[in-house]
């Protein structure tokens, strides 16, 4: 199963930081040139190039904001350095407003075959309150152009829990995205992370995220709607039409090895989790952190990650059989063949379930 590996490339640049974002990103485009120089260096010097690559993912930040030549050069370097499998999934995250027709053409030509649009919402009001400047028309055009260029696999990220969100508006948005050609949807809950602008706004009463209970109700309704439209949940937050499950995403949860390149990127190689520094200075000095895991925690990881998917985990990995039986009895987890998976209604409390089983 692990005879192949995946590659993640981090492009940490953004035009503007969104209010809710707590990840490494940079709005200083003067260091783009330097960054890609080091990034290519890192890829070039990678020793783990024996296994074939089953998926490549360019994430960010916003990969679509930098000149497309950097992206395309980087991908071509990867293609020359590693053995790429025939059906390799190659994704790039794009921001609708920075995704021009010419960029899409370049990406397609370079070999990308999947685009993940960071949409978050089609409602301008909802977006403005979290510091994003973007509208539905931009999304529609970007998706239309992507289809025109030849992309068939279009994913969209949506945020749940935004101030002002209603079930009606969300259902309508999903219908529209479906109409515009989405084949994959990621539905994340808005997290209020410390050290973000949004956190301050919430504390000062300037931003009112939806209450948990309402989020859950929305989720339940959307879940139904998505099913109607042919989107099936294959992981806690991810929905796909038949044949469009994101291999890369699924690989994370199924403990596939992956190489991460770029600032703050993570790797999982030979049972070890390795993290690059999350600041540019250290990254430019070539310092990499290594986190070691013992076997016990790999077992825990297997459960913690595997239960996120509808494919579940092998029953014999779960040591706490007493709890397992209790959860089975209550219908919180379901057993089929020798696999244990979380029942649809209980994905929202996944962590609680994991805690009982590890």
């Amino acid at each position: 199963m692990n005879d192949s590996q995946m590659i993640y490339v981090h492009i940490p640049f953004c035009k503007k930081r969104c209010d809710y974002c707590a990840f490494v990103s940079c709005t200083n485009f003067q260091i783009v040139e330097k960054y890609f120089c080091f990034l290519k260096n890192e890829i070039q010097s990678c020793k783990y190039n024996t296994k074939p690559i089953s998926s490549i993912y360019f994430g960010g930040g916003t990969p679509s904001v930098v000149d497309e030549k950097y992206i395309c050069e980087t991908l071509s370097l990867i293609k020359s350095k590693f053995k790429i499998m025939q059906n390799c999934e190659i994704s790039i995250e794009c921001n609708p407003e920075s995704t021009t027709l010419s960029k899409l053409k370049a990406f397609y030509k370079a070999g990308f075959n999947r685009i993940s649009f960071g949409v978050q919402s089609l409602n301008e009001k909802e977006l403005l309150k979290i510091g994003r400047n973007q509208n539905a028309v931009q999304v529609k055009n970007a998706m239309k152009n992507a289809l025109k260029v030849g992309f068939e696999n279009l994913s969209v990220d949506l945020l749940l829990g935004l101030e002002g969100q209603t079930c009606k508006s969300l259902e309508k948005q999903i219908e529209q995205l479906n109409m515009w050609g989405a084949t994959h949807l990621s539905l994340y809950m808005l997290m209020i992370e410390e050290n973000t602008k949004l956190f301050k706004n919430v504390q000062n009463g300037l931003y009112l995220p939806l209450e948990d209970e309402i989020c859950v109700q929305l989720y339940d309704l959307l879940f139904k709607k998505l099913k109607e439209l042919g989107f099936y949940r294959y992981e806690v937050s991810n929905f796909a039409k038949n044949g469009f499950i994101c291999k890369h995403n699924l690989g994370y949860w199924q403990m596939k090895p992956y190489l991460g390149f770029g600032v703050s990127a993570h790797s999982f190689i030979d049972g070890k989790r390795i993290a690059n520094p999350d600041n540019f200075m250290d990254y430019f000095n070539g310092k990499y952190n290594i986190e070691k895991c013992n076997q016990q925690s790999l077992n825990e990881e297997y459960i913690m990650l595997g239960l996120r998917t509808i494919f579940g985990v092998e029953e014999n990995f779960i040591k706490n059989t007493k709890q397992l039986n209790l959860l089975l009895q209550k219908g919180i987890v379901i057993k089929s063949n020798s696999k244990i998976r979380v029942a649809d209604d209980y994905f929202g409390v996944l962590n609680q379930i994991i805690l009982k089983l590890i």
Binding site: Y188, M189, S264, N351, L355
Partner: protein, 599 residues
């Protein structure tokens, strides 16, 4: 030293009126310890005592003082102030001839001032009123003097006006003790008669027995005999406290001190017992005092079940110094192995549980305190049961008797109405009301002990603004309409939450507990009904809605460490939970149902 130069006395006071501070000053003024050796409040040696400012164990201290050219020995025996420890007070009083009664110069006579003063009068002690804290701007010594005369009936005209904190007029107190407290009586040539008023356990010496010698004397090598157990021991050491242990050759009639005799079992040194010579001993024991009986029972369990043996150790060690603590093993389906413990009252229970957690570092769960019932079954057998989960099926029960106490409340006539109202709420039966004088009434009631152990004393104090004192004694059993109130979580009875309660109160308490539990139990993955039931009939129901959203955040660039951290954090929180059937309960849930009345 001649008997005529010995003075045995104690200090009695309401909590916070400055008892321990005065004790420190006396020790300082008599040069018993140099100032630098005195850490604040010497006599309260237990960490908990200092922190709470209460005295629990007794520490007798011998002091020397020269007055008008004569050397005197002054033996000070400290006393606890709380009503739970009244029996400890009476123990100290029995060893003394006099008592210093401290009254706060601004607060005046309070409940325990009164209660302790009467105890002292009962014991025929010479009482020396002392007015403390005169350095405070709010001090009103004249008003307080009048209160002492009117409420207690003691002459207070030449009561020393002191400040123990500032060291003002401490010598006046000492002079009063020397002049007013009678010298101890007793016959040095008679057989030994020594009263045990406390004992502590020392790992090397065995029990250290605190005694007051009334007749005869005792020295190293003497063969002594305990009156109650008839056990014989060889005295290995005698001495007195300075307040440190200081060995001496002999303790004479009239003196206070300690002896050790390689006594391995503290139970052999029953407090209140009399020690005499093994050969040709005294014919009669000294009048002891009421033996102590636990009245409040509660289950104690470890949060971490694997520490059962540590808990056992802790209780055994505490018992060495506190004969009033009793415990027997108990098994609860909800909480596992633990102990059913008997206490003198709620404060005693709190002190013990706090000491277990603090001194032995064991996290414990305490179940609701209750009393011991007599249950008569239809097969003509009778069971004494203090653990609700051991109650037989109510179908097999013919009748239940609950313990009652005879209660005497002294208060000002202004508060008679308030006290009556409170007593009625607590199922007390009115017996009598007497005007002791124009300032004081004595109200007599009988009351179920179970009602008293909850918060009766605190309620009484708050409703009378502190102007009430309380005395009670056990008065047998009476038949009552008691029921067992069960709490069901998710349909399963949680035995550790069961209560025995009067039928009339079961309904409201059941509802209150269900409401309270709804607040303290975190949401689970499924809906949890909380039900209160009497004999299978549900009388109250609350529902904890299911936890439905936990977290669904994006995972960036294969960074699973954030998810791991969150999981670790949640894992920590879980450790403090108890699994009851399928429901997770925080340990405070068990105690929270006790505190219903205070809300």
């Amino acid at each position: 030293m001649e008997k005529e130069n010995i003075r045995n006395f104690c200090i009695i006071a309401h909590i916070d009126h400055g008892k321990s501070t005065l004790a420190d000053r006396l020790i300082e003024a008599t040069g018993t310890l140099a100032k630098r050796e005195i850490s604040e409040q010497l006599l309260d040696s237990m960490e908990l005592e200092r922190e709470r400012g209460i005295t629990i164990k007794l520490t007798p201290t011998r002091m020397h003082y020269n007055y008008m050219g004569k050397d005197y020995i002054l033996n000070l025996i400290d006393t606890p102030g709380h009503v739970d420890f009244t029996y400890e007070v009476s123990r100290s009083l029995a060893a003394c001839e006099g008592a210093i009664l401290i009254v706060d110069a601004s607060q005046g006579v309070e409940a325990q001032t009164l209660a302790n003063a009467y105890l002292a009068i009962e014991n025929n002690l010479e009482i020396i009123p002392v007015i403390n804290k005169i350095d405070l701007p709010s001090a009103e010594p004249d008003r307080v003097k009048a209160e002492i005369e009117n409420i207690i009936g003691l002459s207070a005209q030449d009561a020393p006006l002191i400040s123990a904190k500032e060291g003002i007029n401490i010598d006046k107190v000492i002079e009063k003790v020397i002049c007013d407290v009678p010298e101890p009586k007793g016959d040095e040539s008679a057989p030994l008669k020594a009263l045990i008023f406390d004992s502590i356990y020392d790992n090397f010496k065995g029990a250290i027995v605190m005694i007051r010698v009334f007749d005869g004397n005792v020295k190293v090598g003497d063969k002594i005999k305990m009156f109650q157990t008839q056990k014989v021991f060889d005295v290995t050491e005698v001495g007195y406290f300075t307040p440190r242990q200081k060995p001496c050759d002999i303790l004479h009639a009239g003196e206070v001190g300690y002896l050790t005799a390689a006594i391995k079992n503290v139970a052999d040194t029953k407090v209140g017992d009399t020690i005499t010579n093994a050969d040709n001993g005294a014919k009669e024991a000294l009048p002891g005092y009421k033996s102590v009986m636990p009245v409040v029972f509660s289950g104690i369990f470890c949060v971490d079940g694997s520490r059962y043996n540590d808990l056992k150790d802790a209780l055994e060690k505490l018992k060495l110094n506190d004969a009033s603590l009793v415990f027997t093993p108990e098994v609860s389906t909800a909480l596992g192995f633990g102990f059913r413990c008997g206490f003198l009252g709620l404060l005693h229970m709190e002190v013990i549980t706090e000491r277990i957690e603090r001194e032995f570092n064991i996290d414990i769960i305490t179940t609701a305190p209750g009393v011991s019932y007599r249950v008569f079954k239809n097969d003509n057998s009778m069971l004494e049961i203090s653990n609700p989960s051991l109650f037989p099926n109510f179908g097999e029960i013919v009748k239940i008797e609950e313990p009652i106490v005879k209660l005497e409340i002294y208060t000002s006539p202004n508060f008679v109405g308030a006290v009556m109202e409170l007593c009625q709420e607590k199922r007390a039966v009115y017996k009598d009301l007497q005007y002791v004088d124009s300032f004081r009434v004595k109200m007599s009631y009988t009351m179920p002990l179970a009602e008293m152990i909850y918060d009766f004393f605190d309620s009484l104090k708050s409703r009378t603004k502190g102007y009430a004192s309380l005395d009670y004694e056990f008065a047998g059993f009476q038949q009552s309409d008691m029921v067992k109130l069960d709490i069901l979580l998710n349909g399963e009875t949680c035995d550790a939450l069961s209560l025995i309660i009067h039928r009339e109160k079961a309904y409201s308490r059941g509802r209150a507990i269900a409401e309270k539990l709804k607040k303290v139990i975190p949401r689970q993955m499924f809906e949890v009904p909380i039900q209160a039931a009497i004999g299978g009939k549900i009388i109250a129901r609350e529902t904890i809605s299911a936890l439905r959203k936990d977290v669904l955040a994006k995972c960036y660039g294969g960074d699973i460490s954030r998810k791991r951290k969150l999981l670790e954090k949640q894992k920590e929180g879980k450790k403090k939970m108890r699994q009851i059937g399928s429901v997770e309960l925080p340990s405070e849930a068990f105690m929270s149902i006790l505190k219903l009345d205070n809300e």
